[in-house]
């Protein structure tokens, strides 16, 4: 794949939030305002790039049996560094993100990309993948936050918007509104990609971190399990 392709796929075709449906918890929690969404997006992107680089660089050294604990240590290390830096130099943003900053450690996007991409690609490609996926996460957060803040609070990044500030839809700033906007955004992205994106190999059954454990690692059995699942729907 071309380098630009690796970078751009995370923005829409394989957007981690709207297509892969990963990182839903921080997306819903921090998209109530544009500022917190921006902060979370940048923090997660920094961790994603650094962890992808480290895991790719160590991919030939890490034994398969301990790869998940190794990934968790690497990711937790970078998250704690970002957390300490934010607490020191951006204290208001640190407090705004609260517990969700520490929860980047268990963000499925980061562990998912480590397992599905970084551990089998060169450092440069893994860094580009981290950047692309991080930007995709950031873009998704900003889209969600813009809709929720503009219509839910009548402001954008804290700046009041005339007319809208007096005609808000408060439910958009609450959890049900988050799910509502999330569903609409998934539908829009699915319509744009014509629903073809989820068939891609990198995030199908085969790319799943638990594929080896569930015994459906081969493409044929994955395909079969997909059909079985469809027949049960």
């Amino acid at each position: 794949m071309k380098k630009s392709g690796i970078l751009l796929k995370g923005l829409l075709k394989e957007n981690p939030v709207f297509v892969l449906v990963l990182g839903t918890c921080p997306t819903l929690a921090t998209s109530t305002s544009v500022i917190s969404a921006l902060a979370m997006g940048i923090a997660a992107t920094a961790v994603l790039i650094c962890s992808n680089i480290a895991i790719s660089a160590l991919r030939n050294l890490i034994p398969d049996k301990v790869r998940i604990p190794c990934y968790i240590v690497v990711i937790a290390g970078f998250v704690t560094i970002v957390q300490l830096l934010m607490e020191a130099y951006l204290p208001s943003l640190y407090e705004m993100l609260g517990v969700y900053l520490a929860l980047i450690v268990v963000n499925c996007i980061i562990l998912g990309r480590a397992e599905a991409y970084a551990n089998s690609h060169k450092v440069g490609e893994a860094a580009l993948d981290g950047l692309g996926m991080g930007l995709g996460f950031l873009l998704a957060l900003l889209c969600m936050a813009t809709i929720r803040e503009v219509f839910g609070s009548g402001s954008w990044a804290g700046f009041p918007i005339p007319f809208l500030k007096d005609h808000t839809v408060p439910i958009l700033t609450q959890s049900p509104g988050g799910f509502l906007v999330f569903g609409v955004m998934i539908a829009i992205v699915s319509a744009i990609t014509k629903g073809k994106a989820p068939a891609k190999k990198s995030f199908s059954c085969e790319g799943c971190p638990s594929a080896a454990a569930c015994g459906k690692l081969s493409p044929a059995s994955c395909e079969m399990s997909g059909k079985e699942a469809a027949s049960h729907d």
Partner: protein
């Protein structure tokens, strides 16, 4: 097989050590800044609970509970301020509270300096439930359900502040 296990242990240990060194270096540079930020937040909270006040830090009594980190007297007689820090089960950091106590021994104002739970809900209204509470009545304040650890921690911290107030006033 044995070799494989040794390799697993060595690699994981090395990664942990490198991560620990990186964290230690980051902590070395950020901890003074974080401490200064916290001190500035406490100073700002003193002005929040008693606006325009000037404060004199008092020595804590020997038997002061660990939750009470500092105790101040407003020099023009507007009351006292306790700086509190308590643990909260569901968050990744301590809960920081600054509480003003008037000359009648009742809580007159509360500012929260650090809180990592669902801060959008009740951050303003919840502390206000304790306004007017004294050492005798603080346990009877009707909190939401009283079922969460943080509610109990919050109330216990305020009770500790009122206990220290009692000791300080008794010694005046």
């Amino acid at each position: 097989m044995k070799k494989e296990y040794v390799k697993c242990i060595v690699v994981l240990t090395c990664i942990c050590l490198v991560a620990a060194v990186l964290l230690a270096v980051t902590n070395f540079f950020t901890s003074p800044v974080i401490a200064a930020n916290k001190e500035a937040a406490v100073k700002a909270s003193l002005q929040e609970v008693i606006p325009g006040g000037s404060f004199e830090e008092l020595d804590l009594p020997e038997n002061a509970p660990g939750t009470v980190k500092a105790f101040y007297r407003e020099t023009s007689g507007k009351g006292y301020v306790a700086v509190l820090s308590t643990v909260s089960q569901y968050s990744n950091g301590d809960m920081g509270i600054t509480a003003a106590i008037d000359d009648e021994g009742a809580i007159s104002s509360i500012a929260i300096t650090s809180y990592f739970e669902s801060k959008e809900f009740g951050r303003t209204t919840y502390p206000q439930k304790y306004y007017g509470a004294t050492a005798e009545t603080v346990d009877t304040v009707d909190v939401f359900a009283g079922a969460t650890y943080s509610s109990t921690a919050f109330r216990n911290a305020l009770a500790d502040a009122l206990a220290v107030y009692g000791t300080v006033k008794g010694g005046d």
